[in-house]
Amino acid sequence: MDFTFDDQQLAFRDAIRKFLMVEAAPEWLREIWETRSGRSLDLRTKLADQGLTAISVPEPHGGMGLGDLDWVLAQQELGYYAIPDSLNDTAYLAVDLLKRLPAGHALAAQWLPRIAQGTARIAIAHPVNPFTADAENADLLLLWHEDEIHALKPAQAKLTLNESIDMSRRLYRIDWTPTASSRVCDASAGRAIWEDLLNRAGLALAAQLVGLASRMLDLGIDHSVNRKQFGKPVGSFQAVKHHMADVAVKIEFARPVVYRAAYAMQKGQADRAVHVSHARLAAGEAARLAARRSIQVHGAMGYTWEADLQMFMKRAWALEANWGDRSFHKARVAAHVLDPVAELGPAHTF
């Protein structure tokens, strides 16, 4: 029993953090927001140079062949810096889907090397999400249809842009017709792939939400240390301290749940769905509270466009309802907890 990350995993995380600290400063995010696609080729190239597009691509396809436990640390950093890029959909979710296609499928050999190199963007359409982020900007769409997997070029579908409060998210309604030639994989093989894709997406967002919560907490702390009222920093008042302390507690008890879920995914454990949903709920709660408390301690500044907090709050609100909203994940937890044969209580954590 050892619930820690090894030094190599932590060093990888630290490298990503250092890189994003420079390349994803808030003023840079604001510039990307203003572009038409909400994406930056320059940023994508840099992410690829850092190896982030290659994390879980198998080595024969030019990747690093790493797994969920490496990703979960990276995702937290992507959340902390509110990265405006479809890295997660492309390099984590689509890679997993492509890797698991029946052996020898042409699509895998065709796209995995390009993903690893950072020259492909892939968007994934699943009915749990009414809209698909980055569909127009993608080189390939992977779509769910009755558990089948279909693939299309964006031009082969009708895309309707739906603007999001998070300006870095370009959401599309996709109208398309499944055909024999768009079908990549039938439902019997597709079902398990989609199921795990849903779990991986839940895990990814949980980790990003923990990262976002930490960022919003840090912004709240910065503001309450610097802002003076009644002749002293507002952060010296208990009411403000307790707002921030509550967020810290939520984060502390969301993080291990997210790591537990990552382990369950990496090992393909039978109960991974409940761990992922638990992680999503815990991380979502932490992020919601962080947003609520951080805007409060920011005072009027928190309600402005100018304060950076808005970018992280908006991302958190958006992610929290994607890849399964709260009721979706609660239902999955309930299915486990209220199953009369479930083994609950002490000695059943692992």
């Binding site: 702390i221 302390a245 937890v333 907890v337 609950l344």
Partner: protein, 388 residues
């Protein structure tokens, strides 16, 4: 990361499970805040100790078993799973002992720990005073040096278990000219010494779980002092860290309550489902109890790699105490109009110990440093917010 138990850990779990199955009293013991119940619980501690199970993380020569923290968590899981009796000596074993291990002399360890492990000495804590609660540095109880003794005068209050316990530990002002956290000494003393008067204080449940202790020129040998004279505050803070931090409230306790809550909900769904908030609270109880277990395993793993316990002492305390209150509130909601029934009421079938547990849960956010104090600690020491 490796979230599987080793063969050795699995074998240990089985051994504990089998032993508890054979030895846990079939009839629940009376409350240890009654004279009879206290004696029953002392006898249970002796039985645990006979199997080297009363203080499993201590070295063998002091009455323990030399186990690591993961094995301790395993032991706790089996213990709570078996509905074994509450630990009447928890103030000694989980709060004082870690301090003795770290700051006591070899002689003190040998003198106090084996008798603690086998239940010969049951310990009470004596921290608070009427004017020193959350503000513990306001302690006024005096310990005046007189040769190789201290002479104690003053009083302590909210002293848990002191009505029937044998010994107590606490902080006393050994330097009369000192103020705040300076000039305090950490002393251990028998509660039967001449000059000590114990005034029982009834708790919310009507039982004398607290006491006020009056010291009237009580002579305590100086070799009952832990650490240097005047260093008591730092030593006590270490104890407080352990108390909040890891050992006092192992996650298994809350996981067992969460499991019982799920069972209670399942048995009462016909009425409970009329309020969707109840189902939400039940699911949240399970999730939060698991989260606390996961966080504790993470801390134990980190300590095993040479890490130190840090701010999680305070985040833990807030998390488990609020979880415990929410779980019991949910149980009260499920029981509805039967929730107020005392366990011995003729129609109290099915209410089990929920009312008692509910009352006790309300103490959690108050003892061991109120949750408000914990939030200050988190804000100032973990988040770096300025002191007032």
């Amino acid at each position: 990361m490796r979230l599987e138990y080793t063969e050795r850990q699995k074998a240990f779990r089985k051994e504990i499970r089998d032993w508890l199955a054979a030895h846990v009293p079939k009839e629940p013991l009376r409350s240890f805040d009654t004279e009879e119940g206290f004696a029953q619980h002392r006898a249970w501690e002796r039985k645990l100790s006979g199997a080297s199970l009363s203080a499993v993380t201590w070295p063998r020569d002091l009455g323990g078993r030399g186990l690591d923290l993961i094995e301790w968590l395993t032991f706790e899981e089996e213990y709570w799973r078996a509905n074994a009796p509450l630990r009447v000596n928890q103030n000694g074993i989980f709060l004082l002992a870690p301090t003795l291990m770290e700051h006591g002399t070899e002689e003190q360890k040998k003198r106090f720990l084996p008798r603690m492990a086998d239940g010969s000495d049951i310990w009470a804590q004596a921290w608070s005073e009427s004017g020193a609660g959350s503000d513990m540095a306001a302690i006024r109880c005096k310990a005046v040096r007189d040769g190789d003794h201290y002479v104690l005068s003053g009083s302590k209050i909210w002293s848990t278990r002191a009505v029937w316990a044998d010994w107590c530990f606490g902080l006393f002002r050994s330097d009369p000219a000192s103020s705040r956290h300076h000039g305090l000494s950490f002393l251990l003393l028998p509660l039967k010494l001449p000059g000590i008067t114990i005034r029982p204080i009834k708790q919310l449940n009507g039982l004398p779980g607290f006491a006020e202790i009056f010291f009237d020129d009580v002579r305590v040998p100086a070799d009952n002092r832990i650490g240097e004279e005047g260093q008591g505050w730092n030593i006590a803070m270490a104890t407080a860290g352990f108390e909040r931090g890891l050992m006092l409230r192992s996650p298994a306790r809350f996981q067992q309550t969460a499991k019982r809550l799920v069972d209670l909900y399942q048995q009462n769904r016909a009425t409970a489902d009329a309020d969707p908030a109840i189902r939400d609270a039940v699911l949240k109880a399970w999730m939060d109890a698991e989260a606390y277990a996961l966080a504790t395993y993470a801390t134990a793993s980190r300590l095993a790699r040479g890490g130190q316990i840090g701010a999680e002492a305070s985040t833990n305390k807030i998390f488990w105490s609020e979880l415990d209150v929410s779980m019991h509130e949910a149980a009260m909601s499920i029981l509805g109009a039967r929730a107020e029934l005392m366990p011995h009421a003729p129609d109290a079938q099915g209410v089990e110990g929920w009312l008692d547990g509910f009352l006790f849960s309300l103490a959690g956010p108050i003892y061991a440093g109120t949750n408000e104090i914990q939030r200050n600690i988190i804000a100032e020491r973990m988040l770096g917010l300025p002191r007032a």
